[in-house]
């Protein structure tokens, strides 16, 4: 199996998930789903894929996800954003001055809730540019941090893009570059990022997945992805590869 950007991202996100008990992934999230399946292969993590009835055991309709997240029964969730800013605010609604948007995007989905109650939310946005990673989002679908009196057991832990991996420091409300694509360096990342961030002194190019990881992806990640995200799997995992 060749290390495509998608395979690299799946491996990086699975390392971030680690030995979690339960990971849920939403629609249109094949890369996070792949990472969750890899975590399942490694640690026996329970994986819920919301839009795939064979990969979820909810019997109380679409509210069950939010009810069980509110009870602390989901450890890791993934969110993205049209825009993500330096304090980890995310915007899934659109650009321009709300409600007179110049460009409308789908909407906030469950982000304004899940960002608060899921202990570790990993932000994933493949496009890394000053257009997507901005100083201040045009619309806050969900804030990156909250005042101390707000009930918030959860929040952002990391941000992964096609170029870089940042860790988020909740206390300082600031991202810290911890790894980057081998073709990049801190200066290039800075030029591609619209917000200010710190650089970890141990920041290094991210590691390429090892042979054992690639074997797990081929045997235990590609098959469920073919079922849940056929178009994505067809593009990324050539048949029999």
């Amino acid at each position: 199996m060749s290390v495509t950007p998608e395979v690299q991202r799946i491996a990086t996100l699975a390392d971030l998930i680690g030995p979690a008990r339960h990971v849920a992934v939403g629609a249109a999230s094949p890369v996070p789903a792949g990472a969750a399946f890899l975590a399942r292969a490694r640690h026996g993590t329970r994986v819920t894929v919301l839009h795939d009835r064979r990969q979820n055991s909810f019997t109380d309709g679409s509210r069950e996800l939010f009810d069980l997240a509110g009870q602390g029964r989901i450890d890791v969730f993934f969110l993205g954003g049209v825009q993500i800013d330096g304090t980890a605010n995310i915007n899934l609604v659109g650009t321009g001055t709300y409600p007179h948007l110049t460009k409308r995007f789908p909407g906030s989905f469950g982000s304004a809730y899940l960002y608060f109650v899921v202990p570790r939310v990993i932000l994933y946005r493949e496009e890394h540019s000053p257009r997507t990673l901005v100083e201040r989002v045009d619309f806050v679908s969900a804030p990156g941090t909250s005042p101390p009196d707000v009930y918030r057991p959860g929040g952002p832990s990391h941000l992964l893009t096609g170029k870089a991996l940042f860790a988020f420091d909740q206390e300082r409300a600031r991202f810290r570059l911890v790894a980057y694509a081998p073709s990049e360096d801190a200066a290039r990342i800075r030029a591609a990022t619209g917000f200010a961030f710190d650089v970890d002194r141990d920041a290094t190019p991210w590691s390429v997945p090892d042979a054992a990881t690639l074997a797990l992806i081929e045997e235990q990640v590609a098959p469920p992805l073919r079922a849940s995200y056929p178009a994505f799997a067809e593009r990324v995992f050539a048949t029999g590869a």
């Binding site: 249109a28 019997t59 309709g61 679409s62 069950e64 995007f105 906030s108 304004a112 899940l114 608060f116």
Partner: protein
């Protein structure tokens, strides 16, 4: 109680607040097309919790004045082109929300209480633009602990599609419990089904547990493949080719009108 698709479309007056389910649940697409055919106007859609082809098509056809939702998208097929155009042109009002708040609004009506509290939302621009949502401090805490109150929403109509109805007008919804929530919170539930069967789902506990009682249902129309081109669990998968064709056509106003004219078999006035 048994009616036709046209009967269902006639039973939804212009201006009605209509609750609809998400794409994976049981969308009454055939009845939605009947609404377009009867040139419904000024509908207010309440998506529990997000809209797909149904919301986009109704918006493109000029049937919608307002949408309350957590999102509108065509899922794997990408953005919702008619919805996005209408928002950018200021042709519709959007009451942006988040999934659990939409559930809370209808659940409050189910329970007969004026509001329900929800976590999250604080510090978001969703809350900033929802004057109908309030935040209070938890009255059971020592102090602080703010949380958001969502007022109950009573729907005029719930409109959805399900696998079957029985001879008594009970509807089998399986584990798609948001359909029950929509029906419970609506003045009238209008339902299309794949087929009407003999007997009663309440004769057996296995079917009773996943049935919606006729007590909540005003009218039922038989509509085989009534959710297509969206899917219906265990009955048919989403028709990906048809959904892609829609997504492609609807990228332009003209393309959408041509798609709609072909789909409903008559020209649609701009």
């Amino acid at each position: 109680m048994l009616t036709t698709l046209e009967g269902i479309a006639q039973a939804i007056p212009d201006g009605a607040l209509v609750g609809v389910p998400p794409d994976y649940s049981g969308v009454a697409m055939a009845a939605t097309l009947a609404l377009v055919r009867r040139s419904a106007r000024d509908l207010r859609l309440f998506c529990l919790p997000q809209g797909n082809l149904h919301a986009d098509m109704l918006t493109g056809a000029g049937c919608v004045a307002e949408i309350e939702t957590a999102a509108v998208t065509l899922g794997e097929q990408g953005p919702a082109p008619c919805f996005n155009r209408a928002v950018e042109a200021g042709r519709i009002r959007v009451k942006d929300s988040t999934c659990p708040a939409l559930h809370a609004a209808l659940t409050a009506t189910e329970r007969g209480v004026p509001f329900l509290p929800v976590r999250g939302l604080l510090g978001s621009d969703i809350l900033a633009h929802r004057p109908d949502y309030r935040s209070i401090d938890n009255p059971f805490a020592e102090g602080g602990d703010p949380l958001v109150l969502v007022p109950a929403v009573k729907l005029d109509v719930a409109l959805f599609h399900a696998p079957a109805a029985d001879a008594e007008g009970n509807v089998w919804i399986g584990r798609r419990r948001e359909l029950a929530t929509l029906a419970h919170a609506a003045e009238r539930a209008l339902v299309t089904v794949e087929r009407v069967v003999e007997g009663s789902f309440f004769e057996r506990e296995a079917t009773a547990a996943s049935a919606l009682s006729s007590l909540y249902v005003e009218a039922i129309a038989e509509a085989p493949r009534g959710a297509a081109p969206l899917g219906l669990a265990e009955h048919y998968e989403p028709d990906v080719a048809a959904l892609r064709a829609y997504a492609r056509a609807a990228r332009t106003e003209g393309g959408f009108r041509a798609w709609l004219a072909e789909t409903i078999g008559e020209a649609v006035p701009a």
